[in-house]
């Protein structure tokens, strides 16, 4: 596992930046152990080099990926909730959302307000928030009137430090009902345990951890 800095853009700015955003990089073996199929595009060239923040944007820009995604989750997508969205409508809505997603994320990062996009993953995480790092989600984009794009992260310190663990297009309201969100839950849990083991609970401790881990590369 590796860690990449998303914002600020330069390592030397981390200490002075009020709200830093980083992302995890899982290699193919780690992703497969988390449940991603070996033939999935996520573990193939060229996507295998991207961290868990950059990769979703690359995948969501791929017509082939979106077509495979649509086929894989067709039973969910062709239900009334999604107004029986067609494959082409799915690609169109995803593509249109990508631009807006990028704009919003950049705007919030550069104004050090990334935290305003974040919500606790569920009520249990909300309760823990005052005393501990928690699992969070960022909702974005629009498909057929719904907001199904999800980035998942560990909020290491509220309003100050976030580590993105993955992203997906949520097809079912219950994360435990679809494989893509089950895998995101596993990623969250894995990263949460590592941070806990290394006593990473604040922005400062994460910066130390980040430099230590990156020196191993």
């Amino acid at each position: 596992m590796e860690y990449d800095l998303i914002y600020p853009e330069r390592l030397g700015q981390m200490i002075d930046t009020p709200c830093i955003v980083a992302a995890v990089y899982f290699n193919e073996d780690e992703l497969i152990s988390l449940g991603i199929p070996e033939d999935s595009l996520e573990v193939q060239e060229p996507f295998w080099d991207y961290n868990e923040f950059q990769k979703p944007f690359e995948l969501w820009a791929s017509p082939k990926f979106l077509s495979d995604y649509y086929d894989r989750y067709k039973t969910f997508l062709q239900q009334e909730y999604w107004r029986e969205i067609t494959e082409e409508e799915f690609l169109t809505d995803v593509s249109n959302s990508l631009i807006n997603n990028k704009k919003e994320l950049i705007d919030k990062m550069e104004s050090n307000e990334f935290y305003s996009l974040v919500e606790p993953l569920d009520d249990n995480e909300e309760i823990k928030r005052l005393i501990d790092s928690i699992k969070v989600k960022i909702k974005q984009g629009i498909i057929k009137g719904h907001h199904p794009f999800r980035f998942y992260a560990i909020e290491i310190e509220e309003e100050k430090c976030y580590l993105i663990t993955g992203a997906t297009i949520k097809v079912h309201k219950d994360m435990g009902k679809a494989m893509n969100t089950i895998i995101e839950l596993r990623k969250l849990e894995k990263v949460y345990r590592i941070l806990e083991t290394n006593d990473v609970k604040t922005k400062e401790s994460f910066i130390d951890f980040f430099y230590k881990e990156n020196s191993k590369k």
Partner: protein, 135 residues
């Protein structure tokens, strides 16, 4: 076994800003690629076979199908459609200044002959919908 990662030097923010500025028109290209992806699945065509049919390299096909470097020319799209025997594009044309008359230039790809047969259909809003003339 995991490969050795090549670290990206460009920051995501810089790359994203560039993409935002240059995104116009790519949606249409992606729609075209999606039609080819669907054609491949329906006809059980591999990427290698597609590359052979289009007279391009497999590496290009891989990038193409993932929407990378797809600033497609109309002539390229027409050629791909012709080679595969599928319709990939319609180019409507409107007579300047005439809101009642719409001329649609439809490029039809004949599956049997695999030849382009351009036809011009003139639709007029003042005529019943079932009425049209072909020239």
């Amino acid at each position: 076994m995991a490969h050795n990662r090549i670290i990206k030097q460009t920051s995501w923010i810089s790359q994203a800003k560039f993409e935002i500025e240059n995104e116009a028109g790519f949606l249409e290209c992606k729609r075209i690629v999606l039609r080819i992806v669907r054609y491949m699945k329906d006809n059980h065509l591999s990427q290698k076979e597609l590359a052979a049919r289009l007279n391009v390299t497999p590496q290009y096909v891989n990038k193409f199908l993932h929407g990378q470097d797809i600033d497609l020319k109309i002539s390229t799209v027409i050629r791909y459609g012709n080679l595969l025997g599928i319709k990939l594009i319609e180019v409507p044309m409107e007579k300047p200044g005439d809101n009642n008359l719409q001329i649609n230039y439809v490029i039809k790809i004949s599956v049997k002959e695999k030849a382009i047969q351009p036809s011009t259909f003139i639709y007029s809003n003042i005529l019943p919908k079932s009425t049209f003339s072909m020239q």
